[in-house]
Amino acid sequence: MATATQTQTVDLAARFPGMVSADTRPGYTGFIVNKDNLIEVATAVRDEFGFDLMTAVTGVDYIAENKMEVVYHAFKTTGGAGLVFKVQVERVDPIEVPSLINIWPGVDFQEREAWDLYGIKFTGHPDLRRILMWEGFEGHPLRKDWKEPFYEEDVKPYKSRWPEGNHTYAEEKNPYRDNLNFPEGFDPEKFTVDKEEDLYLSLERDTAKDVDGSMKTEHIVVNMGPHHPSTHGVLRVAVTLDGETIIGLKPVMGYLHRNHDKIGERNTYLQIIPYTDRLDYFNSMSNNFGYVTTIEKLMKIQVAERAEYIRVIMAELSRVQNHLIFIGMLMNDLGTMYTPSLYAFEERELVLDIFEAVSGTRMMCNYFRFGGVVRDIPDYVLQKIKDLVFERLPAKTDEMERFLNENEVLVARLKGIHVLNAEDAIKYSVTGPVLRATGVPYDLRRADPYSIYDRFDFDVAVRHNGDMMDNYLIRFDEIRQSLRILEQALKQIPQGPINSQKAAYQVRVPAGEAYGRIESPKGELGFYVVSNGKPNPYRYHVRPASFVNLTAVESMCKGSKIADFVALLAMLDIVMGELDR
């Protein structure tokens, strides 16, 4: 069951007496490592104990205890339970923790995020710049004592809404009459704008030097994005070009940073559900799934049997339409403007019709509740799903393959263009189809089964070359496997209640922490939640698949042509809502 990740199989405290102690706070698991021994312990965790995949790194601000904590979640690519370890430091600036970037390069962006939002300095990190906010922004927003300009109260519901809720705009309460807050005595005229020198310096540092004997050419730096027709949303990448070859690359993000974590910590547990819809907005069902499983883990409740099946059906349908769009969008990026994506969107519309019928909206479903789902699937919708799964979608997937797979131009663009090898993929904590295309059969539905995935008969889609063609074809394999799961689920779905809990707008969540993760269509989607027993989470963190997968983009794209870069980026299947949150 889902709780498998919580059980400890490794006793770090016994291996490192005096350096590591078990975390004994009620509801907490894992180990607390001394700051000074972190590197040593982490190396052992990777080499001795074999936790090769560092998935989540995040900070927690325990302001009452005057502590800042960094939480690490490490897993094995062979599957099974994870290992949680933490470092605690005094909450006095400068807060310093050794960086683990040399042990798991995949922590790169996540450490930068913790620096940006918590002000935790990771010593030894070569490129510790802000990542989501811009350089020069005042403060570290996720700290508990940092207040946003439209701050009203610590937690919702706000008292001004009822019983004397005369409508006021939030702007009216702010002295600047806008979502603004400046430090005292700030003078906008005497202020110099950050020219992003840090970015260009770091780009220059990591740029490959001219290869001996090659023609002397001048390098140029090009900024693609944040508004660029082929970057899948508001991502910006600064690239150094030698002719047409990319020799240096830095992604710049945060252009859609919507403060998901901060708002989440103000929300009640229930109120977060619709916000998770807006993370990976192609797959609101999967996001809901990940979040509610995490909270259910904390609450230790069972999910109604029928609801489990409904959840799986919705999540897999979501995966099918996500991969279809992926294929359509990839074709757009390769230059076959529109026809394949029009075909893909047609099937997507039919899937969205189902989402609309069960949940009410096409994209932002808000369908899952703790203990089940919000309403039952009506019979006619169930029939519609069956029609799609048994008849239409398999035929249309075949048609899509017939349409594209052998196209000579497509093959020329995809075959043999290297994306990642297995070693690098694991190193950079890449998950999802991109990892599986390199030959690592790591799928959470098998590796660490959650919900009822252990009941279904399906194969983990794997391909072995790690080139673009494999990355592309694996999407089709996954659609087929999802359809297989769907067929079984639709045959087995039992009658019964759809929620094991009573509908209530406030839930009791016992104190403690939980890390829940699911295999979203883009990779591992994790939620780290700390509860202190109050109606609102104390810490709410999303470990987005797109964000961490993007860590690999720099090493992936160096040396490739700029025209391929667009397709390489498409391979990662990033979505900005989840990447920037």
């Binding site: 005042e138 300009p149 906008p188 704008v193 919507r258």
Partner: protein, 213 residues
């Protein structure tokens, strides 16, 4: 040409030439031309952009309104469809794009976020509505507006275009028209709207005195 829409309703055309002759005013002709070819800027910000793409695809097919020609360059666009959350970090780019668009140009705020910040309004990196910086012509509530709602909004925009008159529109009025230029905001400790510099300085200064008092 759509006779019904073009001809003035109260002008009697002899029956025998009804099918050959259409009577119209210059305004109507001008507006008919513009309303039927509003080219949007190819530009998506967040979740709403996905519904915008969906509106372009087969089921909704905005091409029926002459709005399928998504222009990647602002120089060729007539309408900016602000489809999603506008963040402070993104805002300078949006303003730059807007300034680069030639007149006549329209701004449509699609979805709650673009209209007022939406569900993320309280966020520290979110602009509380694009109308703080750009003149918005149509607001489309919804989160996200369904493709049909978006098309309904587009029809609303067409209605607005229909009411304009070639003799009065701002972009032909040489004396009064200042190009509709919006100064670029800067990213400092927070987003700086340079039009409000003195105001910001005054309030920031006052805050110090208040807190020390």
């Amino acid at each position: 040409m759509d006779n019904e829409k073009l001809s003035l309703p109260n002008y009697n055309i002899p029956q025998d030439i009804e099918n050959v002759v259409a009577i119209t005013t210059l305004d109507r002709l001008y507006n008919w031309g513009r309303r039927s070819s509003v080219w949007p800027l190819m530009f998506g910000l967040a979740c709403c952009a996905i519904e915008m793409i969906a509106a372009q695809t087969a089921r909704y097919d905005m091409a029926r309104f002459g709005m399928e020609v998504m222009r990647p360059t602002p120089r060729q666009a007539d309408m900016m469809l602000v489809s999603g959350t506008v963040t402070k970090k993104m805002l300078p780019s949006i303003i730059r794009l807007y300034n680069q668009m030639p007149e006549p140009k329209y701004v449509v705020a699609m979805g709650a976020c673009a209209s007022s910040g939406g569900p993320f309004k309280e966020g520290y990196n979110v602009v509380a509505g694009i109308d703080k910086f750009l003149p918005v012509d149509v607001y489309i509530p919804g989160c996200p507006p369904t493709p049909q709602a978006l098309i309904a909004g587009m029809i609303k925009l067409q209605e607005k275009i229909d009411k304009e008159s070639i003799s009065k529109v701002r972009w032909y009025n040489k004396e009064k028209f200042d190009g509709n230029y919006v100064p670029m905001p800067l990213l400092g400790p927070d987003l700086i709207d340079v039009r409000r510099n003195t105001e910001i300085r005054d309030i920031a200064a006052k805050k110090t005195t208040q807190e020390s008092a």
